[in-house]
Subunit: 187 residues, 2 copies
């Protein structure tokens, strides 16, 4: 089974995080929500979510993809967590899919995996990816090799579907896009 790791940091963006988890699971991806703190994690808009596991228990070998949701201070909490940065680096060099949305491409920048990569980030934060050698674009989802980046809450749906396309059959993703009404609501 295809497996994805989604980080859950205090201050996570609720729409982004829940959309990634929901869409990937609908596509048949086994998602593990890894909490940076023990027990419940509170989002940037006060939603309390219980992770599946603690980051302490994570072995990157078990996963095909690693995903960093945004939100403030969620993405800062991811960037300053050495365990997260180390897992992102390890995943990237093992050729696994590495993805981030909103402010969270800063985590990829910190991990040194954006060097020379075309990418995107929340509007106005472009300098943050340039620092890591990234080449920022304005598209809502950008794919460069095994790195996928996106821009914010309303782009989380397209981002999650694109992620799924890299992990499972296109027909499965198309079926989920249709069932969730992505075709009638998204640009």
């Amino acid at each position: 089974m295809v497996k994805a790791l989604v980080f859950l940091a205090p201050g996570f963006e609720e729409i982004e995080t829940c959309t990634i988890i929901d869409i990937l699971r609908r596509c048949g991806v086994e998602v593990t929500v890894a909490g940076l703190v023990s027990n419940q994690v509170i989002g940037s808009h006060e939603l309390a979510v219980i992770p599946d596991q603690s980051i302490e228990e994570i072995r990157i070998d078990d996963f095909n993809a690693i995903v960093c949701p945004g939100g403030y201070p969620g993405y800062e909490n991811l960037r300053k967590d050495e365990r997260v940065v180390s897992l992102v680096k390890e995943a990237f060099y093992q050729g696994k899919l590495v993805a981030a949305i909103c402010g969270a491409p800063v985590v990829l920048s910190e991990a040194g995996v954006l060097n020379g990569k075309v990418c995107t980030i929340y509007p106005g934060m472009e300098d943050e990816v340039k620092k890591g050698g990234g080449i920022p674009k304005k598209d809502i989802v950008v794919v460069d090799g095994n790195v996928i980046t996106s821009r914010g809450p309303a782009t989380a749906f397209a981002f999650s579907l694109k992620l799924a396309e890299k992990l499972v059959r296109k027909e499965t993703v198309d079926r989920v896009a249709k069932a969730t009404l992505a075709d009638i609501a998204l640009k």
Copy 2:
């Protein structure tokens, strides 16, 4: 302060529920997430969320709006819960905003508040609102008086922004739409 009640039933749709809560809170609405069961509630895609309160503690007089997210079996759990149906009925007759998305317009139908109302529901479920006298349309969000309905996960963003427009100043909603990138990602 403007207050909204959002139900959290076992089997809730994660994208819908989190989008409603996130967008309304970003707009300055005080949102209470009311759980139908004690402690954590598990969504239709296994996300575990802790509600703010139990439905047992809810007094409808405290709220300006009441919102039913979809998801399966979430909407069925809402429909068969007499406390939910009774709160929806009470809210409607007090002229409060009553809203539902995806399969959850069945809850409004059950509460008898759709009679003669133009509304919408998840594609293929139109007969369910007709039973309650509702007049189903295909638009992604439909407003008729104090009733707002919508269709599914990808329409949750537009639904939440429309809800917010009925509760707070238009400028606030426009600011949130821009900050969340709704303008660049949604139809």
